[in-house]
């Protein structure tokens, strides 16, 4: 018995040592990466897009021979907008699966797992969260602009072009919601606007009537929604139901399928990041998943492709070995990536810049009225 135990122990140790020495490099071994996404909960619609986008990228890569001959395998984890779930998932990915890279989503989630990423030298790439505090973090890259760019655009557009200057705000009480709201307050104030009242709501709530009634009583000529996921549609519907007749507005994260379908959201003033619903990618996505693709599907497709490119480079440089550190160095040295939505250049703060479009939501589509070019 004792012999059996000790040999088992030795075996385990040996197994551990081999994986540590040549991570995922032996010919034919798949390269495993993680993806920590909102697969359930209020943001499940983002999850469908994000997972679909990443999956499509992996399939295309594998069909074309994989990354330097290795198959790419993505391990999906659900964070359900809960940071503690995300931390557990990240630990599992790092300690058990020993991934060199993981896709991540949401501001609060990415911030919660970033220390683990930095400590274990695992690159995480966020294609969805936009909080300003995501900028300049070690091992965290964002292939999306931080929110102050986009909020700056919508604040100016609302105040100058739409002449809406008295705003009441409903804010999701989490990192992303609060950050976006305070940035909006600042940028809107700078262009002569004023936030008359603000109400915070839980992200997992489904009844916003009391808060909306309070905002209605405060007047204002615009309801600004600093929340995301399915809540946006519920807020829009319940606001109309309570007789709030003023226009509503929000940045790109309000654009989920529920919002497009909502009657209350008709006429909503939005900014969005460039996404072409008639692109070949969108058609393929629709065919494969039987649901319309959205901006975030492209984001996670691109993030996976960026990883593939960086991994290839890193493996070439380190004679086939793939580590998080190698991926990070490769991203830093390549910097500019060609993606299906155009050239993406990582800034010194680990974020990306993109064109921003402003327009009105009309029968399930955004009618773009203005495009604000990204500052070079």
């Amino acid at each position: 018995m004792r012999i059996a135990l000790s040999s088992l122990l030795t075996l385990t140790l040996l197994a551990g040592m081999t994986t540590a020495a040549v991570p995922a490099a032996a010919q034919g071994n798949p390269i495993k990466i993680g993806a920590i996404l909102p697969l359930t909960g209020s943001g499940a619609s983002y999850g469908v897009w994000m997972k679909g986008g990443a999956e499509m990228a992996a399939e295309e890569l594998n069909a074309a021979g994989g990354i330097a001959g290795h198959k790419l395998e993505i391990i999906y984890e659900d964070h359900a907008a809960d940071a503690s779930k995300a931390v557990t998932a990240m630990r599992r990915l790092v300690e058990v699966e020993k991934v060199p890279f993981s896709l991540t989503s949401y501001s609060s989630i990415s911030l919660a797992i970033q220390p683990i990423a930095a400590q274990h030298k695992v690159v995480i790439m966020n294609g969805g969260g936009q909080s300003d505090s995501l900028a300049g973090k070690d091992y965290l890259y964002n292939n999306i602009p931080v929110v102050s760019n986009e909020v700056g655009v919508i604040a100016e557009w609302l105040a100058k072009d739409k002449k809406l200057v008295n705003v009441v705000m409903i804010v999701a009480n989490d990192e992303a919601g609060r950050n976006s709201a305070s940035t909006f307050r600042e940028k809107f104030g700078a262009v002569g606007g004023k936030v008359v009242a603000e109400e915070r709501v839980a992200l997992d709530a489904t009844d916003f009537r009391a808060q909306l009634a309070k905002l209605k009583a405060r007047g204002g000529d615009l309801l600004y929604i600093s929340s995301y996921g399915r809540n946006v549609a519920i807020i829009a519907d319940q606001a109309r139901e309570l007789g709030i007749a003023v226009p509503m507005a929000g940045t790109s994260w309000v654009l989920v399928p529920e919002t497009f379908k909502s009657k209350g959201a008709e006429g909503m003033l939005v900014t969005k990041l460039p996404f072409d619903p008639n692109s070949a990618f969108a058609k393929k996505f629709k065919e494969k998943y039987n649901t319309n693709a959205g901006f975030f599907a492209v984001q996670y497709y691109s993030a996976t492709m960026i990883f593939a490119k960086a991994a290839q480079e890193a493996m070439k440089k380190h004679s086939g070995a793939l580590t998080g550190e190698g991926v990070k160095d490769a991203i830093e040295s390549i910097r500019s990536f060609d993606t299906i939505s155009g050239k993406l250049v990582f800034q010194a703060n680990h974020g990306a810049v993109m064109d921003i479009e402003a327009g009105t939501l009309k029968s399930g589509k955004v009618e773009v009225e203005k495009t604000i070019k990204a500052a070079p």
Partner: protein, 294 residues
């Protein structure tokens, strides 16, 4: 003033769901003295029964609702029959029953989350979702139905307890189980009946919630907690007390938003409850809570 009226109306709508949940729970607790937290699971099950009836069996709305109420009543009875009664026969104390009930609540909630995902599933209610304006107040037709259901449910339960033979048996057991037994009432059958009636009266609250904002697996816990607070506030054994307690909590929660930021809603309710239980443990009406009853 308009805001006050709107918040009061919203409070009344939420309150009508609390009332249905609280009088059902209060009837069961007052009669059996089981701290039946799994009532929250029955409430949630009712919502999913109705949802499944409409979406999977393609039943018309009314049939799905009636079917769900019946199924909820049966679920309540089954819990008593297969969990509480065997435990009581083996001489389990109330705490054991409470733990069993809590376990069952967690189990059912998680199974529902696995089957239906944790996301809210909203039923189609057609024109009931349209909004109506009453002076400065905006509500939906469904909200008016909620208030109506609560009023009818409350009156029907009172009439049932007062005028029907079975209702009188329940009241007899509620006021003194020993006395009821000596006059030949079968306690176990009365308990089963109480579970059926209590579950059926609370089921519409779960279903109305599924129609308004969606069925969610973990919503029952909040509701059963509020129901127990309402019953203790109203006075154990008193159905009007439970209804009043529930209405009070809902109005407090919603009117509180008027002057206090909304994230403090539940802090207000439970703060008032603590004051109540210390200052007036008898509740509005009804008997004082004995330590043995909790």
């Amino acid at each position: 003033m308009d805001l006050f009226l709107q918040l009061a109306a919203t409070g009344l709508v939420v309150g009508s769901l609390y009332v249905l949940c609280a009088i059902g729970w209060g009837l069961i607790y007052g009669t059996t003295l089981h701290f039946h937290v799994a009532h929250g699971a029955v409430f949630t099950l009712a919502a999913y029964y109705a949802y499944a009836g409409q979406k999977f069996l393609h039943l018309p709305l009314a049939i799905a609702v009636i079917g769900a109420i019946l199924a909820a009543a049966i679920s309540g009875m089954l819990i008593d029959l297969f969990i509480y009664q065997p435990l009581e026969r083996r001489g389990a104390i109330r705490t054991t029953l409470f733990i069993a009930s809590l376990g069952l609540l967690t189990l059912i909630e998680n199974v529902l989350a696995i089957i239906f995902t944790p996301d809210p599933l909203r039923m189609d209610v057609g024109w009931l979702a349209d909004s109506v304006q009453l002076g400065p107040i905006f509500l939906t037709r469904l909200h008016l139905v909620s208030v109506g259901t609560a009023i009818i449910g409350f009156l029907a339960l009172m009439a049932f307890l007062k005028y029907s033979l079975w209702g009188q048996a329940i009241r007899a057991v509620s006021s003194s189980p020993e006395m009821a037994r000596t006059v030949g009432i079968d306690l176990r059958r009365v308990h089963l009946l109480t579970y059926a009636v209590g579950s059926a009266i609370s089921a519409p609250a779960g279903i109305l919630l599924a129609m308004d904002v969606g069925a969610e697996p973990y919503r029952g816990t909040t509701f059963v907690l509020l129901a127990s607070v309402a019953v203790i506030m109203g006075g154990i054994g008193s159905i009007p007390g439970a209804a009043l307690g529930a209405l009070f909590l809902a109005l407090l929660e919603n009117l509180g938003v008027w002057k206090i930021p909304s994230e403090w809603q539940s802090t207000i309710s439970f703060g008032i409850f603590l004051i109540f239980i210390v200052v007036r443990p008898r509740g509005f009406f009804g008997r004082k809570i004995q330590s043995a009853e909790i």
